[in-house]
Symmetry: C2
Subunit: 441 residues, 2 copies
């Protein structure tokens, strides 16, 4: 069953790969129209999921995430599909053009990856999001939603599949739905047919997937972000940035978990900085040498830090705080303890900032701004499939570009290697770069 | 021990990452000079390896690969280091610049990956090659050579390490040597410290590594390349290209293993094409429907093909041959059976060619030229660390660019997310792309 699904998606990919941008974008418009027409049926299915959720005593936060009828959620979801349709074509962009010899030209051209396996938890709007991104980028997608959103998911995917089949050039198997739990573990072993797994959900979900597949996994398990307040920091800026980075959405992977402060920051400034956090109801886990600066703060919000607090992801209004000797010590601490997501330095000293930006080994390296900006929408990518802490392939917020690979095209006229140096012949290569804006294939 | 090595390499990376192009390139010149000065000692060590190889009855091909004193091999190795030193700096290139809002700018900047684990078999010159590429790209490397080249490897790595320590800013631990077999399997579990494994050697080596690590592996196990002769092929061109693709170096991963011929190619042309291969001593594994065209060929070079011949990597003067109905059938066969390395179409019909180039899902898609061009030197990459059949990250021949990742730098002035739409505020983003050639950080 899993092999059949994966092979079908892969065969659909072979077809999808040859379609034009117009054909792929038209399919998105058709899906948009289909979902719009069947809005009532989808919301009715969604209502059943919500009732089941209440009956099963799921948390109110989860029920809220399930609800497609709230506010303008449904319309925003539909608009998102049209937005993706209107993005520039990510397929077939020439990124290198080189004359290898007379009549023999090399081109590096963007191409879709193949088959994506997307595993997500409760939010049913993800199906529209991912479907749009996958088709626009020429990739097939196998979608596995959480059981909480089964009815909504089924209603939407039936519409997507029938729309693809009857109104578009995109093969219906380009977007496939999977429900049962066994299917997923079997799909994770289909590395012959599936090119990339994208889990969207809890740390536990991501870790479990990473441990159970040979297929590359795009995403992040942890978001352990750091802020470093340099000796030359503007204290008011520091306060603003720290409070935002910690409290704007503390369950987000781009919230900070650890604060490092340069030991030469004046004592009253340190107190002021820490007070801005306790004023925002943040609980400080501080090292002993910081205790002298916390005597005037509410003592229920100050506790002793343990070693394990550094490199820990609270996902709550808690933060670990530590003094460091220098910007270099901050870099060293962060490179050892962070999850390579996003780190920020607060300083008015350009030299310290440049040192930090160059020395930190994370996807996002920030100067004087909140780590909460690490997000595809905020970066201007339109929508995102997730945030990657991988260093291989896509890094940080991942939009359409992260779903692309490339191919080398070589166009000759009977050229053979054995006539050239290194393969038995005497001809030398020209290796002259061509202007990629003037290539006419 | 393995953890210590990996951690040391990772710490060295943190330092190496902050060095300038001049400092990294100077280190390569120093290594070049050190190896040149100690040429006699290295060749003496190499002589011991060669004597041991003969004593242990290793194949003459292997002994030949070990020999650093043959021809200009040593000098070419030294020149290769200087060539890499002179390449443009791959670190710190801005590939995206975007104004997010007034005073808040986003940059995507190339950055090294981190720690590379390179596992290679006999060729001792690889150490110079990889050392140069790693340092130039700002990556640390842990090198594990085959036991056959132990003495040479040890002599060279001692010189590299002492040169780094005494004459350069590059930390000595940026290039580390590992010998024992246990260390390798322990290193493969150091996914906290090692970012990429690059095996250079047999299929068995690559497969074994892929099966035993969670660290991403760059490379290829198989090279199952295809040629397709279209109905509009120029037969003389086909003959040249097929003979070169099959026989120029049949043990290479870029040699073809399967030939597909359009069934509408005239019978005498099919015979002529097959004869060009048997003239070159290639043994044909043909399907039954091809037998009618092989009656005039030497019968010891024509055998019946089995199903398993298609998708098989011979690495010898053997080829599987099959008739297909159309270019679409060729694409389908290839996407199902190839290892996604390199495939070529031979045709004078631009429409068929474009269909093939767009439909094939391999790293290299060629038109009227030999698959043997799939090589970093031939592509003009200088040297290569290998050829990748991965679709994630680097694809095809991998040079310096394939050893790079990137980071997003965000430079603000106290900017916080909560003031913007979507995070609780009302400000909208500007998202205006800046000219990357005019960025002055």
């Amino acid at each position: 069953m899993a092999e059949r699904i994966a092979r079908d998606a892969n065969e659909a990919f072979s077809e999808l790969k040859t379609l034009s941008n117009e054909q792929r974008s038209q399919a998105l418009v058709a899906i948009h129209d289909g979902l719009k027409t069947h809005k009532e049926a989808i919301l009715a299915a969604n209502k059943i999921d919500m009732e089941n959720a209440v009956e099963n005593n799921l948390s109110s936060a989860l029920v809220k995430r399930l609800d497609l009828s709230a506010g303008d959620k449904f319309d925003a979801m539909l608009q998102g599909i049209l937005d993706v349709a209107e993005l520039p074509d990510p397929v077939g962009k020439i990124t290198l053009a080189r004359k290898i010899d007379e009549g023999l030209n090399l081109y590096r051209i963007t191409a879709p990856l193949g088959v994506l396996l997307i595993i997500f938890e409760s939010r049913p709007e993800v199906i529209a999001n991912i479907t749009a991104l996958a088709i626009k980028s020429g990739n097939s997608a196998i979608l596995k939603g959480g059981k909480e959103s089964y009815q909504t998911f089924k209603a939407m995917s039936d519409i997507v599949n029938s729309t693809l089949q009857t109104e578009t050039q995109v093969p219906a198997a380009a977007i496939l739905l999977v429900q049962s739990r066994e299917d997923v573990s079997n799909l994770l072993s289909q590395d012959k047919y599936i090119d990339l797994v994208i889990p969207r959900g809890s740390n536990a979900l991501v870790r479990n997937i990473k441990d159970n597949t040979k297929i590359p996994v795009l995403g992040h398990a942890d978001g352990i972000c750091h802020a470093y307040v340099d000796v030359s920091a503007d204290v008011l800026k520091a306060n603003r940035i720290l409070v935002d980075s910690k409290t704007n959405y503390c369950a987000g992977c781009n919230a900070i978990e650890t604060l490092l402060i340069n030991k030469d920051v004046p004592g009253d400034s340190i107190t002021e900085i820490l007070k801005s956090l306790t004023d925002a109801k943040v609980k400080l886990h501080v090292t002993l040498d910081l205790r002298q600066y916390t005597t005037t703060l509410p003592q229920d919000l100050v506790v002793d830090a343990q070693d394990a607090d550094f490199g820990h992801e609270y996902l709550s209004f808690d933060i670990a705080v530590k003094l460091v000797d220098s910007v270099d010590a901050a870099i060293k601490h962060i490179n050892e303890h962070s999850s390579k997501h996003t780190e920020t330095i607060i300083t008015e000293d350009k030299e310290s900032a440049e040192r930090f930006l160059k020395g930190i080994d994370s996807a996002g390296v920030y100067w004087n701004c909140s780590t909460r900006f690490a997000d595809g929408f905020r970066y201007g990518f339109g929508t995102e499939v997730g945030i990657s802490t991988n260093k291989i392939h896509a890094r940080g917020p991942v939009g359409l570009e992260g779903l692309m690979s490339y191919q080398y095209q070589l166009r000759g006229n009977g050229h053979i290697a054995s006539e050239y140096l290194g393969a038995g012949g005497s001809k030398t290569f020209v290796h002259e770069d061509l202007d990629i804006n003037k290539v006419d294939l």
